[in-house]
């Protein structure tokens, strides 16, 4: 058992749910409201020092009654301890957890991937948009259990939508010069660009 689990229970009390020690790996369930405090504490407290965020991911079980889980795999390089933090969310409710990009910069793309595949919103993320599928992808969140294996649209409609996308529209300003595709970008992306959150678009209005 990772000693951090007991320290968490002592510090956060009933915000900590089940603690599971399975095959030498420690899993701590945390209430969604407190998970950010827990992660801040785990990173910043002397003696804990979980300075490496290995992965952020999510799990949806085939049993629809079970909640959807968001998972943070942490590692302390100093004390060589691994700790897995999980949050349970009701898949019928709003899927939102706080972002930890300001704690671990590497969480940026990991959280975007979870958002892309599961539709979990990370509040406070600086640039939350799809990362694997393109931004105008309209079929939903592919790794959710209610998502059909072959997608929601017919094959001809998928081909039509794919071929009618401007390839430059798939990418962000930093990735490609997308000035040509500006009019085809999703509205929220245009708004972000207009607010100057990214590089300036040449010849933009």
């Amino acid at each position: 058992m990772n000693p951090s689990a007991n320290a968490l229970q002592a510090t956060f009390g009933n915000a900590i749910g089940r603690v599971i020690d399975a095959r030498g790996e420690t899993i701590v369930y945390v209430s969604p409201a407190k998970v950010r405090d827990v992660l801040v504490w785990l990173k910043g407290t002397a003696g804990q020092d979980y300075n490496y965020l290995v992965d952020v991911t999510a799990v949806e079980y085939r049993d629809r009654e079970r909640p959807l889980e968001v998972v943070w795999n942490l590692r302390s390089l100093a004390s060589r301890q691994d700790l897995r933090i999980k949050v349970e969310l009701d898949p019928r409710g709003e899927l939102a957890v706080p972002s930890v990009v300001d704690l671990w910069a590497g969480a940026n793309w990991l959280e975007r991937e979870v958002y892309d595949m599961f539709g979990v919103t990370f509040t406070g993320h600086p640039d939350l948009r799809r990362i694997l599928m393109w931004e105008t992808y309209a079929e939903g969140y592919p790794l959710r259990k209610d998502f059909p294996l072959r997608g929601r649209f017919s094959r001809s409609e998928q081909v039509r939508q794919a071929l009618n996308v401007n390839p430059e529209g798939h990418y962000s300003m930093e990735e490609l010069a997308i000035a040509d595709a500006y009019d085809e970008l999703p509205r929220d992306m245009r708004d972000r660009l207009a607010r100057g959150e990214r590089d300036k678009i040449p010849n933009s209005e």
């Binding site: 294996l149 001809s156 409609e157 071929l163 996308v165």
Partner: protein, 210 residues
């Protein structure tokens, strides 16, 4: 052919033979045969490698199998100086507009080889992310089966393309028409795309969700 001269400056036996063969070709060949022969034996490939087939393509191009033997000395890596687009690997929907643009950028005459099961049919990837056969996106001349095909397989496909090119009618300009997307933004009628994208083989048993 200076480099083939012997030490004393006279033409070597090989040079004489080559010259007489060249003259024979010029005198006896029909123009379309000569043009098709030149086209077939100087194909410049544009490799569009997306997956493990691309590794096999590299093996085909490397010294042991040596694509250069078939006139493919120069890998184009630019659609504007290439003759044959070789799609080596699966094509996700995200890349469909990219391969379409590359195909449109290639000058005529141009041909397409679909290398491997995934490029030809979607292969094992009968899912939401993958084009079920690149022929729904660009016209294909030769399909090479295999997962991935052995270099011999790809070479056989290239030789089949040679055969196809050698049989083309030089004066049939419709062969060189650009096959652009129609007003619906598709290459084929939607029902035909749905039909050729139908699951077959093991993938008909893949209904796991919804």
């Amino acid at each position: 052919m200076k480099h083939l001269q012997t030490v004393d400056g006279s033409d070597s036996w090989l040079t004489t033979k080559a010259q007489s063969l060249f003259e024979w070709v010029i005198k006896t060949a029909r123009l379309d045969k000569a043009v098709n022969l030149s086209r077939a034996n100087s194909l410049w490939p544009m490799p569009f490698g997306t997956a493990c087939c691309a590794i096999e393509f590299m093996a085909t191009a490397a010294s042991r199998f040596d694509l250069a033997r078939f006139g493919m000395e120069r890998q184009a890596f630019s659609p504007r100086q290439s003759d044959v687009l070789i799609c080596a690997g699966r094509l996700p929907f995200k890349l469909a507009p990219v391969i379409r643009r590359i195909y449109d950028q290639m000058p005529q005459p141009k041909w397409v080889i679909s290398m491997g099961a995934c490029a030809s049919t979607g292969g094992i990837f009968d899912n939401y992310a993958m084009v079920q056969g690149i022929d729904t996106v660009v016209p294909v001349d030769v399909y090479v089966p295999g997962c991935p095909p052995r270099p011999e397989g790809l070479l056989y496909g290239i030789l089949m393309l040679h055969k196809k090119i050698k049989g083309e009618d030089l004066f049939d300009s419709s062969l060189r028409d650009e096959q652009l997307l129609n007003d619906k933004g598709l290459r084929l009628p939607p029902e035909q795309i749905d039909e050729i994208s139908e699951p077959f083989g093991n993938s008909v048993h893949q209904f796991r969700s919804a």
